[in-house]
């Protein structure tokens, strides 16, 4: 998390709308980073141990939302199938664990493992390859067709996993224990929280890097006007596909962490409602902003937790709050913070 405050100042365009001054932002970033690091101790001190689990979920969904924002917010590709990569990442980990426990091999070829150093990259790799395949087809279209094709691919995968009886079908696949890391015991919720914090900081840093790079410069341009960029000599397709693959890998990472957190993978993780939830996080937080998706993920996970404690019809008030924020802030929570003079573009 130490690089985060640096990014506050460095990614700020020369001509950005006036927000808070750089020192205020750096201070704010440091405070948030410090709070996140100290959170398990604070939570225990205040007697709210369960809060750590909640923030773990925020961080995991935050990674997924950050990855979706790269294509949706920066690249302008409205993918309605991002849950597919999230779910497939989760299933890769769960299936590898299943074969590890079973002492068998996936397709009689790939032996199982519960080593997180293998399962996390494997989940990202498989999600990335899947994104390359889905992207290669769907990016040949645009607009509504693109939304529908990404949705269709995700739903196909959903039904594939529902029908895979070996791996639990629609009951999902349980993991008896979390994966293991050498030297670090992530069985405890506190260490697992720190693992997710590091992963989220890593993906945030990666996104910040990409967005300000030449690649990000082109990607944002493609969102604004593809024809314009073609007339400069950029071929849009490879850039969009690369972004789509990176986003798929991010969602795969999030899914791999989520299945470790829940110790359970289910087809629901690929369902279109999950894709919709991720989109909501991005839009609520602020599309095309660096920190927006994290804010959106926090808002939705925490609101859901608070509202479900109050009423079983929690989706109604959640929907109303989402509508209000999106309608009145014009740019999600990130814009709201900016209007309060706190945030950054």
């Amino acid at each position: 998390m130490t690089e985060q405050p640096v990014d506050f100042a460095a990614t700020k365009p020369v001509n950005s709308p006036t927000g808070a001054s750089a020192p205020v932002k750096v201070t704010l970033g440091l405070v948030v980073a410090a709070l996140l690091v100290a959170l398990p101790y604070l939570a225990r001190g205040l007697g709210h141990d369960s809060f750590v689990g909640l923030v773990t979920q925020v961080l995991i969904y935050g990674i997924a939302a950050l990855s979706l924002n790269l294509i949706l917010g920066y690249g302008g590709m409205i993918s309605f199938g991002h849950g597919a990569f999230f779910g497939v990442g989760a299933y890769v980990v769960a299936i590898l664990y299943f074969h590890h426990a079973d002492d068998s091999a996936f397709l009689d070829l790939v032996p199982g493992t519960d080593n997180l150093l293998i399962t996390l990259p494997a989940a990202m790799l498989v999600a990335g390859i899947l994104a390359a395949v889905i992207g290669a087809f769907s990016l040949r279209t645009g607009g509504v067709q693109f939304i529908m094709i990404t949705l269709a691919f995700a739903q196909m995968l959903y039904f594939l996993f529902v029908s895979l009886k070996t791996y639990g079908g629609d009951d999902g696949l349980m993991m008896r224990r979390r994966d293991v890391l050498p030297f670090v015991d992530i069985w405890g919720d506190q260490t697992f929280y720190y693992l997710c914090l590091v992963a989220a900081a890593f993906w945030l840093g990666l996104t910040a890097l990409i967005v300000r790079s030449r690649f990000g410069f082109v990607l944002s341009g493609l969102r604004q006007n593809e024809k314009r960029l073609a007339a400069f000599g950029f071929s849009p397709y490879p850039y969009k596909l690369a972004a789509f693959v990176i986003a798929g890998m991010g969602a795969g990472l999030a899914g791999a962490l989520m299945v470790n957190y829940l110790r359970f993978a289910s087809p629901d993780m690929l369902h279109w409602t999950k894709s919709g939830e991720l989109m909501m996080m991005v839009i609520l937080g602020g599309t095309g902003t660096l920190f927006g998706p994290l804010l959106g993920a926090a808002a939705i996970v925490l609101l859901e937790a608070v509202l479900t404690a109050q009423t079983e019809h929690w989706q109604l008030p959640l929907g109303i709050i989402l509508l209000a924020v999106v309608l009145f802030s014009r740019g999600g929570l990130a814009a709201l913070f900016r209007q309060l003079g706190l945030g950054r573009p």
Partner: protein, 250 residues
């Protein structure tokens, strides 16, 4: 005549029953400023779109510096040295003029699959962009988002961005359209200053501008070239007068 830099031969394009381009041949030697005129609906923009690759032609060939480019995609033709400006400007509304021109330079500086480093902070590209922006007179407005620029300024930017592609041949689709008198004059003197340095094909309705600038003029009517020659030839041509120029004051 020496080998033409842009050589179009026997180009045809139909939209159903409508013949948009009718066996059109056109050769631009290096350094020439060639104007394409014709009444509305003559197929001028359709021709430009075929030349740059935004529209597929039915038959014929388009050669750039001796190489066939007629079946390449738009971006590939740009990298080979065929840039354009737009009649209705295509903009990146959230980017500034500086961003836009920098992006155009970045496009020809190798691939952009670079994920680290600050794109906007690239000194060399930034400095080069400043030159093109200065050239069209947009320096004062270089850091304003393009969405907030006036129409005339967008036209200037469009030209700066096209020049930043370092084209061998530049196709200008109505660079004067929608400009005020003063802006038009500025654009004419700007184009005059480029004359000889870059080969240009200008589609334009402003006859005064065309007669001031052009080395040669081609007249397009119903997709067919009815005349070609220097300014005096075209002014004197009877067919052109009746088909086109006769409609208004010359």
């Amino acid at each position: 005549m020496t080998q033409a830099l842009l050589d179009v031969r026997g180009l045809n394009k139909r939209f159903g029953g409508l013949i948009a381009t009718d066996d059109l041949s056109l050769a631009l030697p290096e350094g020439e400023l060639h104007a394409l005129i014709g009444p509305n609906g003559a197929g001028k923009t359709t021709l430009v779109n075929q030349l740059v690759g935004a529209l597929e032609h039915d038959s014929g060939s388009i050669m750039l510096a001796g190489a066939e480019i007629g079946h390449l995609p738009v971006w590939s033709r740009v990298l080979r040295g065929l840039a354009r400006t737009f009649q209705i400007t295509e903009t990146l509304p959230e980017y500034t003029s500086r961003d836009t021109v920098m992006l155009a330079i970045q496009a020809r500086s190798g691939h952009s699959f670079r994920f680290v480093g600050h794109a906007r902070g690239d000194r060399a590209i930034r400095d080069e962009a400043a030159i093109y922006i200065e050239q069209v007179g947009l320096t004062q407005r270089a850091d304003v988002p393009v969405g907030e620029l006036a129409h005339g300024e967008r036209k200037q930017l469009d030209l700066a961005a096209a020049l930043a592609c370092k084209p061998r041949v530049l196709l200008l689709d109505e660079p004067m359209a929608g400009l005020g008198t003063v802006e038009s004059q500025q654009m004419v003197s700007l184009l005059a200053s480029l004359k000889g340095h870059v080969t240009m094909l200008i589609v334009e309705h402003d006859m005064e501008a065309v007669f001031t600038l052009a080395d040669r003029i081609s007249v397009l009517v119903y997709g067919r070239l009815i005349a070609q020659g220097n300014v005096d030839d075209i002014k004197a041509n009877e067919e052109v007068r009746t088909a086109y120029l006769g409609e208004g004051d010359v």
